[in-house]
Amino acid sequence: MTDKKTKYQEVAYYPGCALEGGGHAYNRSTKALGKKLGLKLKEVDNWNCCGAMEVKNIDPKLQTYLSSRVMSIAANKMGMDTVMAPCNGCYHNLKKAEYDLANDPESVEVVERLSKKSGHDTYQAGQVETIHALDWVKETIGEEGLKERVKNSLKDMKIANYYGCMYTRPRHIFPEKDQGPGSESTSKPHFMDDLLEAAGAENVEFPLKTACCGGAHTLSDSDTSTKLVLNILQAAEASGAEVIATECPTCHSGLEMHQIRAEATLGVKTNVKIIYFTQLLGMALGLKPKQVGLHENVSDSFAFVKEKGLA
């Protein structure tokens, strides 16, 4: 057993706000997948917002504090050494806070002051390791473990894996990436590809796997976001994909909403399905579509998964 394989068997689970709202399907499928794989998730007690994009861009040190509080509870109250965040935004923010607290004395001072004022232990850099849901499954179960557990192979399913931006950027807050074989790549991420391939899927060559979708501008500059997303959807279809697999609630919602908007405003219809990787893996392991929250997605993939023998 590798260290990580043992360490990640039980992790502090930080769902974040999106997974309690529009991204609930991701929450449901992550929990269901963990249960199916025998992995333990202990939800962070009384967790708070990570600072998201809104706080981070107005007052980055306040965002560092908010993220540090989540890690402090996991470490100091729950005695955990690993926090797993499935949302790219939360994952990114916790990693950024970790980096700031290890490298920026001003951030340390602000976090100490606010933690004291709030009446909880101050988080110290290095107390926990923050990982993404992809790391969690990859390191504990791995490709071979998944292959052994697959009940409904994803064979004949062509998938374009879309990682979005915050999973890999900016590179300096992810020191464990780009470390050679076995590590994740920031320019061509592959962990999701590896896991879905192990479940039988055929990953297509998809050159826009980390391309900008307009992100937070999805509301303030919807037209640009719609055009960027449409290009991603069209590139996925042109690459032969039937499904875009996602690993972030913001990416997922953006793709779903702008797929609809592209048809309504630009008259361009795309048919590629948008499904969380946790939903795909869950169904491959024998879970029913409703158990992984397929009914909670905006786009309707029921007929598709039925056709593929997953329902």
Partner: protein, 144 residues
């Protein structure tokens, strides 16, 4: 320098039925032209240097100077360079037609991103770049 509208129209009109190396050269040139627009809009002279053999990558680096959010198109530029290499080195590969289609879509993504950023400069600032917007608000000189 052609307008961004003209570049967009040329991208729309690109036919992947044409000679693959020619298409690769055209897409790369369009990508460079798009980045020239961005660099010029920031008040600089577009570089003619090359990075890793590509002017495109040197232009991207120039465009991202002191602007982390421009790295949101870094991988798109690298994919464009990668597809250029594929099509130039293996023009008759069985996948060449597919690679050509994808190169056009990658070039289009770069165009759409830069076009969006020309209209709303903050595109990308809120997401992966983590740029605090207050930096600029606080940097404004006090009113006299």
């Amino acid at each position: 320098m052609r307008t961004l509208d003209d570049i967009g129209r040329e991208l729309d009109a690109l036919s992947t039925a044409e000679d693959n190396p020619e298409l690769a050269r055209t897409c790369l040139a369009l990508g460079e032209e798009v980045l020239e627009h961005w660099v010029t809009a920031r008040g600089a002279e577009p570089t003619h240097e090359r990075r890793e053999g590509f002017r495109l990558l040197a232009l991207h680096r120039q465009g991202a100077d002191k602007l982390p959010s421009f790295n949101a198109c870094r991988e798109t530029c690298r994919e464009l360079a990668y597809h250029y290499n594929l099509l130039m080195q293996q023009p008759d590969h069985p996948d060449a037609a597919q690679r050509a289609r994808m190169m056009v879509l990658v070039a289009n993504h770069l165009y759409l991103f830069v076009r969006g950023k020309m209209e709303v400069e903050e595109l990308g600032d809120f997401c992966c770049a983590s740029r605090p917007i207050r930096e600029r608000v606080d940097a404004k000189p006090p009113k006299q």
